[in-house]
């Protein structure tokens, strides 16, 4: 491969765009404030385009092939979403325009809030957070604000299962809480007995992912909610795995008080190579006043008697006891538009169909692989499942080797070494948008790799072979710390 750096194809005097000439009298420039040098590259438009097109070709994306990255819900991103978000009437609006001039934007946001409320069972939703972890921080700060508002200052601890995403403890720390880890039981559930021991008046709440990161629906979820609520705590839902349960169960009905959504997972908006996403947060009646804002509300326009149906005016407002703003403006509007489009196209039946097929695909793939790879928790899974890459008859082969070898078959590897409670974890999430043929091809590759692991382990150790670069030296990167290519 070897695509030069953009700075390496720079040549003084080139430029990639034409700009208009000044059409007014110039003002004197403040010489004492000006910079001397601006080390940006200088390239022509054609060189720029070829550079970035060639770089794009070094990537694997959902549009190129199967991407069963567990916990990330790499489903197909419908193209109509992209077109919807690029409609000029939406794109070219400024966040500080008078609300009466952006009623279409507020309409979309209001109805997306309402859709998410209906899907989750929560009373209110705020679209402010820009990513899942951002929504998590919102949720934990809301729990804190709730306890503080009741004068309940003794609650210092957040309970977090050992299977939780790393963002849960990190968000907890940012919100000023200590974390207490709760062990899982032999069936991959939160162990209710272990939980009971920790439930006291110092507990702010429990952060639960359900289905959890093993891809299992917690069999004791109602009991867990009761235990946490019983000691005055609150139940936080990590909505990363919502793709398993749309139209199957509303998280609020399971006892969750607050939960974040990942629009870039469940609702088909693309991941963008690491964002932008969107992490709306929903809450029941108890926590709704603390939601981050602004949120969109509507009021009936009284004087419009001529209209056939009710006419509404949409407004921005802060929830009454809001934790405040989490970012400037109103959330990732462009991402919200894509999720809105998706929900409008699927409707209630389509969302349930998506979840059912996500779970069907995962269980089918599991049935094809569980005789080849160790399955630490042998249950019906939800939208994903976790195998171990520790093969008894190939002790020198590790999950990392299996992951790298999968690339040679044109597949993105699963999530590896997570959750931490499974030795050599391989976390596989196929999503509903993959066909049986794709799942079969992946299963066959995995089975072949297991055979190679026994017979030709060197093939795995030296993998990948068919990629633009071979295995990269991560230790050297951390040691050398070459973080940019500027000279001097």
């Amino acid at each position: 491969m070897k695509e030069p750096l953009i700075y390496e194809i720079s040549s003084p005097g080139r430029i990639g765009v034409t700009l208009p000439e000044l059409d007014v009298e110039p003002a004197p420039l403040p010489q004492d404030l000006m910079r001397e040098d601006l080390p940006l590259p200088e390239v022509s438009e054609v060189d720029l385009v070829r550079h970035y097109v060639r770089l794009s070709q070094l990537n694997h994306g959902v549009d190129k092939g199967f991407y069963p990255l567990g916990s990330c819900t790499m489903k197909y991103n419908p193209k109509v979403n992209e077109d919807a978000a690029r409609l000029p009437g939406f794109v070219h609006t400024h966040p500080y325009q008078d609300p009466c001039t952006v009623q279409a934007n507020l309409f979309v946001l209001f109805h997306l809030q309402a859709f998410l409320q209906e899907i989750s069972g929560f009373d209110r939703v705020s679209l402010q957070p820009a990513a899942g972890a951002h929504g998590e921080l919102a949720g934990v700060l809301m729990m804190r604000a709730y306890h503080e508002s009741r004068g309940d200052h003794a609650r210092k601890r957040m309970l977090i299962p050992d299977s939780a995403h790393g963002t849960n403890p990190a968000s907890t720390t940012m919100a000023g809480y200590e974390t207490t880890e709760i062990v899982s039981d032999a069936r991959g559930n939160v162990n209710p007995d272990a939980l009971r021991e920790h439930c006291d008046e110092t507990v702010a709440g429990l952060m639960l992912t359900n289905p959890n990161t093993l891809g299992l629906f917690d069999e004791h979820v109602l009991q867990i909610a009761e235990l946490v609520h019983g000691c005055g705590g609150l139940l936080y839902g990590d909505g990363a795995n919502l793709n398993a349960i749309m139209g199957v169960v509303k998280p609020a009905d399971l006892g969750f008080d607050v939960m974040h959504f990942n629009l870039h997972k469940t609702f088909s908006t693309p991941h963008g190579g690491g964002g932008p996403g969107a992490g709306p947060v929903g809450a029941n009646e108890r926590l709704a006043p603390f939601l981050p804002g602004p949120v969109v509300v509507r009021e009936r326009v009284e004087d419009d008697e001529a209209a056939d149906e009710d006419v509404y005016r949409y407004l921005l407002c802060m929830p009454e006891s809001s934790i405040g703003r989490l970012k400037a403006f109103y959330g990732n509007f462009g991402v919200c538009l894509k999720a809105y489009t998706y929900i409008r196209m699927l409707g209630a039946d389509g969302l349930r169909e998506a979840s059912e097929n996500a779970v069907l695909n995962a269980n089918y793939l599991l049935s094809r692989l569980k005789d080849t790879y160790p399955l630490p928790y042998d249950r019906t899974c939800m939208h994903e499942f976790v195998l171990s890459g520790h093969l008894a008859d190939a002790p020198d082969v590790h999950t990392i080797d299996i992951a790298k070898r999968l690339m040679d078959f044109g597949f993105h590897p699963p999530t590896v070494y997570f959750p931490l409670i499974v030795d050599e974890a391989l976390m596989i999430e196929p999503t509903e948008t993959e066909s049986k043929e794709t799942l079969d091809a992946f299963a066959e590759a995995m089975i072949q790799i297991a055979q190679e692991a026994r017979e030709h382990p060197e093939l795995l150790h030296s993998a990948p072979h068919a990629t633009p670069v071979s295995r990269l030296d991560e230790v050297r990167a951390a040691r050398d710390k070459v973080l940019h290519c500027l000279k001097g």
């Binding site: 765009v17 700009l19 208009p20 000044l22 059409d23 007014v24 009298e25 403040p30 910079r35 438009e45 070709q57 990537n59 694997h60 994306g61 959902v62 109509v80 009437g89 794109v91 500080y96 325009q97 008078d98 001039t101 951002h134 934990v140 790393g166 963002t167 907890t172 940012m174 974390t179 139209g247 199957v248 169960v249 009905d253 399971l254 088909s268 963008g272 690491g274 964002g275 932008p276 405040g324 989490l326 970012k327 400037a328 403006f329 990732n332 509007f333 991402v335 409008r344 196209m345 969302l351 169909e353 998506a354 097929n357 779970v359 069907l360 089918y364 071979s470 990269l472 990167a477 050398d480």
Partner: protein
Amino acid sequence: MSYVPNTDADRAAMLEAIGVRNAADLFRDVPEAVRFPELDLPAPVSELEVLRELKELSEYNVDLEHAPCFLGAGAYQHFVPSVVGHIISRSEFYTAYTPYQPEISQGTLQSIFEYQSMICALTGMDAANASHYDGATALAEAAVMAVNVGRGKRRRVVVSAAVHPEYRAVVRTYTQGAGLVICGDDGNPFDLEALVELMDADTACVIVQNPSFLGYVQEPSTLRTLAKAAHDTGALLVISADPISLGLFAPPSEYGADIACGEGQALGGGLNFGGPYLGYFACREQYVHKMAGRIVGQTVDQRGERGFVLTLSAREQHIRREKASSNICSNEALMALAAAVYLTALGKSGLRKVAELCYHKAHYAAQRLATLPGYELHGQGTFFHEFPLHCPRPVQEINDYLLNEWGIIGGYDLGRNYPELANVMLVCVTEVTTQDEIDTLVEALQDIEEAL
């Protein structure tokens, strides 16, 4: 339409392989009483219908292709070269996840490495990360980072009142559980030197915006005084800077900043009603290990070829969990790509030219507007592409008239955030504003005085 390729025959074969009768049987772990609720959502529509519906809906907006606009205040209308949209529409970029598997993510990784290089070029800093959600969260993370640099012992964050009001609000939201003292932002937004008085041995950082929220470029001597005062007490200087302004003005490194961050939307991002935007973030080398977010570093593969990986991950949540420097995971990678493409297209001379166009046009507008009776610039100093304009009547009244009678979107009402600046409008003019639009604004404001 649920984008599911499985046919009935596929489903039957799969169910048989699993050993269950129907898909509903897969959900027996879900408590029966709440299983399979009815969802009350609008009936699904086709692709044709949803696009028609959204297009019609979008036309209810007054958009900036149809109305001249003088709003800035943290979200700026700039020309976005066509190459930006085309490159970020490459689905190899936008349908990829965070580049956890570097061998098949070199496109994302190298483009972020180049983006980091360009952010270092703009700010003069030693290292940049792969992005934050927006300028406001980047600033909040800067405050948290400064507290971490002080090993959590320094609890005071001094913030200038001339920092974007919503950014200040976000700093408060982020730190509300940490028990920090945030001070300074109730002071005079035109008096930065007063912040020196607020710095003590307990101070983690002082935060300044440049150009300020009110549009003025801060005096280098004042900034150096602040930097010295901060460093003398062991605190950091954090600068939030508009990146286009850095095409013209001295970078934060030159006046002693330890962290430079800001809103990168202006770099090819479009307005999008406030998001997705781009928080850029850079710091001095000695603080790299305290920086939050993804960082890409250069290395070699087994064949000795250059390649790129996510690095220094021991700072991050997926490794350090409760001890991580931040909870950030997804960021705004695609917007960072847009910024890199934008900065590449413009290059050394183009960014300077855009900045100069903004500067000259804004000064032309200021000079014309200040000749109107009752209108004058509020405050003094060098401004970049925005300036506070004192008006003879409430800004809301003027803006309503401009919109309804002239189809013009007026500037930002500073009275919303600064009671002492009632009747002061923050007017923004960029390279996309034409002389004709500026002259029309002047004419419209004259018209108001006659009409009202």
